[in-house]
Symmetry: C2
Subunit: 446 residues, 2 copies
């Protein structure tokens, strides 16, 4: 006789197509049927608990089932779940736009809402393109991007994604943009250290921008951490150099902070922490602390004003999503921003970041690298000489399976085991997380 | 001294960039600050009420602030707002996938969740492309689409959108697909009537598909109503012919029912009502009855099985959004489907549809056309001989402004004034809606 859990998993198998999943893997390891979540823990129907080590795809900040976020949502629900956002506005969106502008670097003055990270990027790309057209520079239609860059998977966002695994099957329908060799600190071709280098690896980008400034509308980067590439981390000096060149050549700088904003690196925004002035700032994921889909694209008054004019001039930005600025999501986002900015919350991350660093030392004995940027950490597992393990060994996936046995829900990127826990994780829990992950890795490599 | 309302609108003006909006219009007509919504009415801060004639961009089915939908949301909230959807599953998503499969035409067996209509379309396009590659037909990379078609505004979705107003500024980064002259019943080049024709206008599509079947992956259409084109309505015989040709030539048929599903045309799905078997069915908007962003792409086991295999074969569909299958949105969607399918709800629409038809007769005296498909109706305003009014006159926008004075929130598409009210609108309210709209039109044209 099959259990209730099993019968639900069979229904799942029959009708659900999960994202980024080879369903044949479910023949041996079916998905976990998660029933509840509380704090940093997920609980399945049998009552087993799993630490949400990657914050449910890097979205959760304050833990699951948070009373303040729940209350913000239900209070808005009593007034209005949703209303359209053209010809109409509402308090939650006004407050959120106002807060995002106040908290982000000066110069970013306008906020365009959409539903997910991909659309936030698509909006930035489209605004940049149209801006140059309205300015009479219609030859500026290209975007530079890093070969390790990831910016979402709708076809426009994918066209500036450098990773073969995401774009390979769709090359034939992707417009051609400009891929550039980016920083790769673990395998630095200059033999330098990210803590002390001068971003010598900026050279190919400088060359690419210099040679293509006539046709380049913008350049898009994930600041400090290239997430999907395997949590590749690089120093802010690279971004400083990028800014200098972009400003001198008239190229828009698009910061995709979808994964790194809202405290992940220890600060609210990477651009703010390092005195950087992107033309576009894309936000999503943590914006609702992992409750609801929402994204925002921030930009300058200079961009906005290029779209401003008589209706007949048809300069307006024609882009919409039905649920733009969903009031429920905005209400949760407003509470999230309050929690991030009050009671010195970001200060409270400092000892956690130190604990993460300290506990990370145990990985030094392994072949590979432990790296960390604020509350994001990763262990890249390799053979000797930084050579990758054979793809078909699926080392990372084996580590994932070991994690399940030990109550950790991880999801390594290839052989990079990484940690993006909810920011409210305690120091003791950080220790448990890393010690357990270490056990998992040992169990696999042994 | 400025009022609280005015000061909020100034904050809006400073920091919010609204979708599909020329902000200069706000100098004379600022957005309405909507504070609450109840049933089919929106209420601003001053207490003015507006009938939500277009269901907040065609999303709302059961009215705002519905106790059952609110309850479904809060009950799920007590368990879990969100959890990632790879390696994990949850009851709300399983139930929703199961229901969508049960309620849609047989053959559609798998459900892939994403966040909005654009992404639902992107998923269908990407699945279709990859399917042909996995089958060894990698030359099939093109999509046919109607010149009046609209399928969203991310760049992939936009590449199969036929409307110049949406794609014009972005042509240079859009991959080239195959635009086809579609049905235009109001200005039928064959001089026929949509009620009695044999879809003679299918000829260009038949030709296009026949000549390009080697390279065509699929064809995408909005069944029965081309929404953004101005609620252009055409008969199901066109779709029957499309199906016959697609099946004989091996071309995927993608139905974008984002606007028309869930009762809008009087039935749950257009494909179901007309015995049509699309390869992909894209759903969003009404799926949560206007509460939260969510979308679904349904497809067949034939498609799914092409992606099934050993992990190393890398056939899996690599596409993800952080908030895929958001449990809160799925919970509301489940309740929405219950409400749509119980107590003969769809039957209850019949007298409303009849009232809409009856009241529509008052527009016969105007130059133009009143047209209707189920609960969707539209009045296209023209000069004599079906000639369009000059663009710069903005007749539709003037009608919108008259509507505001009279408590109707409309949003004409060009000079097409249309009605997609929440399905729970009463017959008396339908009369008020159309009579008032008639007054508005008269006030503008007089």
């Amino acid at each position: 006789m099959i259990s209730e859990n099993q019968s639900e998993l069979i229904r799942d198998l029959h009708h659900v197509w999960h994202p980024c999943t080879q369903h044949k893997d479910y023949e041996t390891t079916p998905p976990i049927l998660i029933e509840r979540a509380e704090g940093i823990y997920l609980q399945d129907r049998q009552g087993n608990r799993y630490m949400d080590v990657i914050a449910s795809w890097w979205v959760n900040l304050f833990g699951h089932n948070h009373p303040r976020l729940n209350k913000a949502l239900t209070q808005q629900l009593e007034k209005m779940a949703h209303v359209m956002f053209a010809g109409i506005t509402h308090q939650p969106a006004i407050d959120l736009a106002d807060s995002l502008v106040a908290l982000s670097p000066s110069g970013l003055e306008k906020v365009f809402f959409s539903d997910n990270g991909s659309t936030a990027v698509e909006v930035a790309l489209k605004m940049s393109l149209q801006y140059w057209q309205e300015k009479g520079e219609s030859q500026k239609v290209q975007f530079a991007y890093l070969k390790g860059g990831y910016h979402g998977e709708t076809l426009g966002a994918l066209s500036v994604c450098g990773l073969e695994i995401f774009r390979g099957k769709f090359e034939k329908v992707l417009p051609s943009h400009l891929p550039v060799e980016g920083p790769d600190c673990f395998r630095c071709p200059y033999g330098l250290q990210r803590e002390s280098c001068n971003a010598e690896c900026f050279e190919p980008m400088e060359k690419a921008l210099g040679e293509n400034s006539d046709t380049l509308a913008g350049v898009i980067v994930e600041p400090l951490v290239q997430g999907a590439a395997g949590m590749m981390m690089y120093p802010p000096i690279y971004l400083k150099k990028l800014q200098t060149v972009c400003e001198s050549l008239g190229i828009h700088m698009i910061f995709d902070e979808i994964a790194v904003a809202f405290g992940r690196t220890g600060s609210l925004f990477v651009c703010g922490a390092h005195d950087l002035r992107p033309t576009f700032l894309c936000l999503s994921k943590g914006i609702t602390s992992g409750y609801l889909p929402l994204s925002a694209t921030l930009t300058t008054d200079e961009i906005y004003s290029a779209f401003y004019g008589e209706y007949d001039d048809m300069k307006l930005f024609i882009h919409s999503h039905s649920y733009s600025a969903n009031p429920l999501a905005c209400a949760v986002a407003n509470e999230t921003l309050k929690m991030l900015t009050e009671n010195n919350f970001l200060e409270s991350l400092k000892p956690k970041i130190a604990t993460l660093k300290e506990c990370g030392k145990q990985f030094e004995g392994l072949n590979g690298e432990f790296r960390q940027t604020g509350m994001i950490a990763a262990v890249e597992l390799v053979k000797n000489n930084k050579e990758r393990h054979p793809f078909e060994k699926r080392i990372g996936y084996q580590v994932f399976l070991e994690g399940l046995k030990r109550g950790l829900f991880m999801r390594p990127l290839g052989d990079v085991v990484y940690f993006i826990p909810p920011l409210v994780i305690s120091e003791a829990e950080i220790e448990t997380m890393l010690n357990t992950a270490h056990d998992c890795i040992n169990a696999v490599l042994r």
